[in-house]
Amino acid sequence: MSGFRILVGCKRVIDYAVKVRVKPDKTGVVTEGVKHSMNPFDEIAVEEAVRMKEKKLASEIIAVSCGPQQCQETLRTALAMGVDRAIHVITEPKEYESMQPIHVSKILSKIATEEKADLVIVGKQAIDDDCNQTGQMTASLLDWPQATFASKIEKSNGDLSVMREIDGGLETIKVKVPAVLTSDLRLNEPRYATLPNIMKAKKKPLVTKKPSDYGVDITPRQEIVSVEDPPVRQAGQKVESVEELVTKLKEAGLV
């Protein structure tokens, strides 16, 4: 099918293997000097788009990332995986801290309209804020059907049949394109961005835009009151005998 465009969102997040530390002033987490990478769920979204292109179901893939300058590295990874071109919506690091899914989805929906995308695929959620809102909000702003938590996507005469992960099982739904999909963990196994492909990706087009180019106002709607570590699990105790255990349990009022 010719002229079928896929738009994928790629968020730059703190790498999944990094131990996240909260800033002492409780305003957020430490991001300076911490390894970042593409959100794993977005990687799955990119992979699905690339596979659709390889099956000749799509003609062009465009990756979008919103955030500071370093987001371009994330976009390079996407380009190395097989995306055709990338759009970087640059924001100041300060502004980015207060950016919410609503802002990102407004930008995504504007880009989707402008680039005449037929399908938007994003990760179901980012592993840093765990919002799980961007895909849904984008669908609603565009007034397109949505298929969230996709674990299998098939194309059948113009429509998409999507298997979704729901509580306690799977659900298969049919959506008409244009549509917004969000990827779940079991959708596919993302390929590795190899060194030669990263090098080649440097030649692929990447344009930088500003949120104002899309008429999106990114003033914060929320205020972060406090960011805190989860409570630490308390250490256990060893008991010598059953009697002691029973006494302790009685003391604690558990039996």
Binding site: A17, P40, L185, P190, Y192, L195
Partner: protein, 83 residues
């Protein structure tokens, strides 16, 4: 090593492995040291067939590392979000 084609293949392999090693769970230095030792051990090999075999082994390690990273990521996410 005399054959320039093989030489560049070996250098490419080394570069790719080092690139992959940056994500190694035990740290980059650990990986780099071992990778270097493995390459240095075979530096005097001259037989082309043997070198080709060693390159193939290196390529295999490359694939294994990619698979290792993928699995590690998948397992972490599964543990975090699905259990």
């Amino acid at each position: 090593m005399s054959n320039p084609k093989l030489r560049s293949q070996v250098i490419n392999l080394y570069k790719t492995l080092l690139y992959l090693g940056k994500e190694y769970p035990k740290g980059y230095t650990y990986f780099r040291d071992r990778c270097k030792t493995a390459f240095m051990k075979n530096k005097d090999k001259t037989d082309e067939e043997e070198i080709k075999m060693l390159i193939a082994r290196g390529k295999f390690v490359e694939k294994e590392l990619e698979a290792l990273y993928m699995l590690r990521k998948y397992r972490t996410l599964k543990k975090r979000y699905y259990e």
